[in-house]
């Protein structure tokens, strides 16, 4: 099902968002590269109404100097969700989007039902991980299977603006200690997804979240680098669907009964 782009005026400023599909609502929070309408995301619209807000300054949208941190962006997302998505919904975050999603779950626990934290940023222990500055190395860090990219490459100026906006919001934070201190209070049932070939978000980040979020599970997606949705779309979609449908019960192999 196709996405369309809409815009809404919020107390913190204008916000554009992609929306598509029908079904229970899912809020998708994008990574530092901006929105990529990947195959899993498109497929998810077959069973869910997917909302994907674009952080101002990303993907050619107008910047918002009032947003100075991940928490600021999270507050804007919360207002957007209240006005457009509904009182309670599922959340999928990717990398920077996972960081945002975690803040949302911490600040607004009643809003978030199922929480999927994909390759979560914000927990770079001992300086490990992060995106290389060299473009070629960066591309390799993002994709184990670049031939699977189906979307049109973004223009260099858009990528540049995305990077600058992300840097402004991330404030060079390696480990978000304030967020870390609140992990134990996360109420949402949570699934943490990691790529086995991901060097941007090392496995330690996922282990930290698993250890501290009470109702959490984590899974490694084999043969995927940081862009797990591109590298292994079928595996990602299978996990999304299973977890969003069955929550922690997704670990049970239901066999033919599942049909």
């Amino acid at each position: 099902m196709a996405f369309e782009i809409k815009t809404i005026e919020l107390s913190r400023g204008k916000l554009s968002y992609h929306v598509g599909g029908n079904g229970t609502p899912v809020l998708y929070l994008h990574a530092a590269g901006g929105i990529m309408l990947t195959e899993p995301l498109k497929a998810l619209t077959g069973s869910h109404k997917v909302y994907a807000p674009i952080c101002p300054g990303f993907d050619g949208t107008e910047g918002n100097e009032g947003l100075k941190s991940v928490q600021d962006w999270t507050a804007m997302v919360a207002e957007f969700a209240e006005k457009i998505v509904g009182p309670r919904f599922d959340v999928i975050g990717s990398s920077f989007g996972s960081w945002t999603a975690l803040w949302l779950a911490a600040e607004r626990p009643k809003m978030v039902d199922h929480l999927i934290l994909q390759v979560p940023a914000g927990f770079r222990f001992d300086g490990k991980g992060g995106l290389p500055t060299d473009p070629e190395a960066r591309f390799k860090a993002l994709y184990a299977h670049p031939q699977k990219i189906t979307s049109t490459p973004k223009a260099p100026e858009i990528m540049g603006a995305n990077g600058k906006t992300y840097e402004r919001l991330a404030n060079n934070v390696q480990v978000d200690e304030a967020l870390s201190a609140r992990l134990a209070s996360i109420e949402a049932v949570t699934l943490i997804l990691l790529g086995t070939e991901d060097r941007v978000v090392p496995a330690e980040a996922g282990a930290h979240l698993k250890r501290n979020i009470p109702m959490s599970q984590r899974a490694f997606i084999f043969d995927a680098a940081h862009s797990v949705e591109v590298d292994q779309p079928e595996r990602v979609l299978r996990l999304w669907n299973d977890f969003l449908k069955r929550g922690p019960g997704y670990v049970l192999n239901q066999g033919p009964e599942a049909a």
Binding site: T196, A203, G206, A207, K210, R211, Q217, R218, A219, F220, I221, F222, D223, Q232, R235, R238, L239, Y250, V251, L252, N253
Partner: protein, 374 residues
Amino acid sequence: MKFNFFHLMPYPDYDKLPHEWPVSTHGIDSRRIQGLYNEYIDEMVDAENYGFDWVGCNEHHFSPYGLMSNPNLIAGALARQTSKAKIAIVGNLLPLLNPIRVAEEYAMIDVMSGGRLVAGFLRGIPHEYIAYNIPPSESRSRLREATELIIKCWTEDEPFGWEGEHYQFPAVSIWPKPIQKPHPRILMSASNAESAEFVAKMRAIMGITLIQDLKIAAGAVDYFKKTARSYGWEPTPDDILVGQQICIADTDEEAKHHMAAAQTYFHQTLMRPQRSAQQLVLGQSRYYTEADAGENFQKRLATLRGRTVEEQIEAGSIICGSPESVVKQIKRLRQELDCGLLNLTIKVGNMPGSVVRRGMELFRDRVAPEVAGL
């Protein structure tokens, strides 16, 4: 150098020429096999006091070629009865097995032995895929995925799930974790370029066997080293293991005589039924993804089978002779292949137990003292 006392645990009394694989057990007395297990395990337990640094075993199915369908059971016995030798399982055939179970059993062996496991992750011989009904064309991708999954099982403290091509396990946390950190040494076969690439990536010990020509083997070692460098590490002799059949006797003539008789049984009886099954796998599946690799495997087997004992010694395919000759042959392997690990099969085919025992004594008294410091 370090030496592995490797045991195939062959069935030595098969008095017919088996024509098919799997091989019938008609007329085979399991009480006799109980005696063989005791004899073989006793040899392996004693090996650590005969100059051997490792004791090793492996996995084969459905024939008298080897009586270890699960070498981990043997390793469990060795863990209790040995105290200093590394226990080298070379190895579990990962593509045929549940990798979580392998991770658990290997971890148990490592803990039971006080951290002495060398963990072999092998793809196996082609026909084994018929035994467990696994598509041979998936052998390499299963090996890769299972290897990475097992390492995760050993190194991740927090529970995790795995979503892969061949394996999906939503909730894993094996107990116990291995004693060796970050995990036990891994050993994998790297007889061709395709294998070497992955072995280098995993920083595993490279294993090479069925040597038909030392120059070709040296080329494989060089390729492995070069590939390892591209992954940012430099292999040492401790990262290169060479597998050889060996016979040590008081004289060269005696050793050659025993080896020739044992190899006749090995090739004519133990290996015979596997050939047609292997041809089936190689001919009707993509077990090898490089055409020449399949040809090499078959060619190597056929070449070795057609050679005399003397020709095999000359080619560096086997080690055979008096202690003095054996020392020279080992030094040659060390020099030409830069290997620091030798995987030695003393019980070749139906080699009598008395010959095996005499070989062990000669190794302890007259070979090991000359080569251990290499």
